[in-house]
Amino acid sequence: MNLFQSITSALDNALAKDPTAVIFGEDVAFGGVFRCTVGLRDKYGKDRVFNTPLCEQGIVGFGIGVAVTGATAIAEIQFADYIFPAFDQIVNEAAKYRYRSGDLFNCGSLTIRAPWGCVGHGALYHSQSPEAFFAHCPGIKVVIPRSPVQAKGLLLSCIEDKNPCIFFEPKILYRAAVEQVPVESYYIPLSQAEVLQEGSDVTMVAWGTQVHVIKDVATMAQEKLGVSCEIIDLKTILPWDTETVCKSVVKTGRLLISHEAPLTGGFAAEISSTVQEECFLNLEAPISRVCGYDTPFPHIFEPFYIPDKWKCYDALRQMINY
């Protein structure tokens, strides 16, 4: 299955298992602009898979209400770039529901899905990676898969999770990434980073599409520099797995973090700050962040904007020579 098919499969499993589960958002009824919900309305009926008006605040607000009643709400925001009208609902309502009610009420059965990240031609409003805005909000979880197998397992975990979750799907991988994905349900745990490749000289951390970039960089580093890289897919941004990352940096002494989102205030800053607190004496070089520039996401300049393998390789090379 490709990535969008693995999402469909996860949603199919969720609606089959949980009779309260509903899917809603803009254009989901016909199958969605990225085909993630194809066939589900036919299979489960118009009461369980339905369109909403063009109103992100309403989509999330409605989803919170559904979840508070105890039903499972799976909301789709058509592009992560459009999630901001729902920001208040997410931050001030969803995230604080359990806390402010002393656990009398919660909207834990809410999951919000949104296409995320650069796609080659998306420009300002079809390319954003807004995870850093939500990382700053206790009470929600933020999850980003790197592949079809990961996406299905992580999405099912988000739907099961008793906290409101935001699930960002790398849109550039929807068709491009293809794997053997089990048809039945399976769960990949949240808040557990994964070491994809062990190494001894440098730790590289990324999530989503960028994991594939740093994998290429690791190969280049081995071939051109004889440098052995440890690669970590963070997967869950909030709450993030500090233990796996710190354990790795204690071993290697060097850390490179990379994300498409702009450098300043990007999630690499949080990782970098925590690691220097926990692993200060283990560090052989300053922690390197290879990120998008502090500009809106440009259109024609995308190839220059993104933190591609050449920028990551160059940063790694400088770190090794520090």
Binding site: T295, F304, W310, K311
Partner: protein, 281 residues
């Protein structure tokens, strides 16, 4: 990559004939391709939309690879160390002056500024190959020529600020320098008004200071000996990718300027991996 087949033109009776200039250049290997934009040299009679990254028919002369290593020892101009040092110092000084004056313009201290980014090698290499008394007609990015010939920083500033020290008497916008003593005709704004047509030409990597030096020296020698003009097309990377950093804020914060410079440095080393051919001057 090249347009397929031998180009043909139709002659009166409909029979195809070879076009005299119909050959396309082959490139040694994809890694060696120049990345500069340019036009096809031949006619074709098939309707064929060309991909933006189809490369030029005219090869680009260079002496050094991207790491600054001389490719063909016979092309090394073997300049004395103090000349090479002067080339390097001038390029660096020009770049530094550019940063300061560019920021001055953004801060409103001067009204206008054009940087010389990417052309440092072209200015300095050509200046070194000319005699100091050769008369130079610049466009407005040839400040490096003036700088190489010894124009003092004070006078660059004076012209940009239009103050009493400016020999141009404050009449023109910034970067419109000139110097009779250094044989550099004062720059004027209208473009392409003084270029002759239909002359022998060479295309050169403008970032390769030794290539520019060699080409300029040879062109000068022949121009004087044969009494005809020569055109050196010095190709350089457009700074248009830098436009991605404009207009984020009204005034660019320092960190953004650092990132912009970081990209420029990165492109100097790794430029072959980027679609720079799309960014024409």
């Amino acid at each position: 990559h090249h347009l397929g087949g031998a180009p043909r033109g139709l002659v009166g009776n409909g029979a195809p004939s070879q076009h005299a200039a119909g050959q396309q250049e082959e490139f040694p290997s994809p890694a060696e391709r120049p990345q500069f934009p340019g036009a096809s040299a031949a006619f074709v009679d098939t309707l064929d939309f060309i991909q933006p990254n189809v490369l030029a028919g005219i090869p680009v002369y260079r002496v050094m690879d991207r790491q600054g290593q001389i490719l063909n020892p016979s092309q090394d101009p073997q300049l004395p160390a103090e000349t090479v040092l002067k080339l390097y110092k001038t390029m660096t000084l020009l770049n530094t002056m550019d940063r300061i004056l560019y920021e001055s313009q953004r801060q409103g201290r001067i009204s206008f500024y054009m940087t010389n980014y990417g052309e440092e090698g072209t200015h300095v290499g050509s200046a070194a190959a000319l005699d100091p008394t050769d008369l130079v007609f610049g466009q407005y990015r040839e400040a490096g020529v003036l700088m190489y010939r010894g124009y003092p920083l004070d006078l660059f500033m004076a012209q940009c600020y239009g103050h009493a020290g400016d020999p141009g008497k404050g009449r023109q916008m910034p970067v419109h320098y000139g110097s009779r003593d250094l044989h550099f005709v004062t720059i004027s704004s209208p473009l392409a008004t003084q270029i002759p047509q239909g002359i022998l030409s060479i295309r050169v990597d403008g970032n390769d200071v030794f290539a520019v030096y060699n080409a300029t020296r040879e062109a000068r020698r022949r121009a004087v000996a044969e009494n005809q003009p020569f055109l050196i097309e010095a190709m350089t990377y457009s700074r248009s990718p830098q436009l991605l950093f404009s207009d984020v804020y009204c005034d660019a914060p320092p960190r953004l300027a650092q990132q912009r410079d970081g990209l420029a440095r990165h492109l100097r080393l790794y430029g072959e991996h980027y679609p720079l051919a799309l960014f024409d001057k």
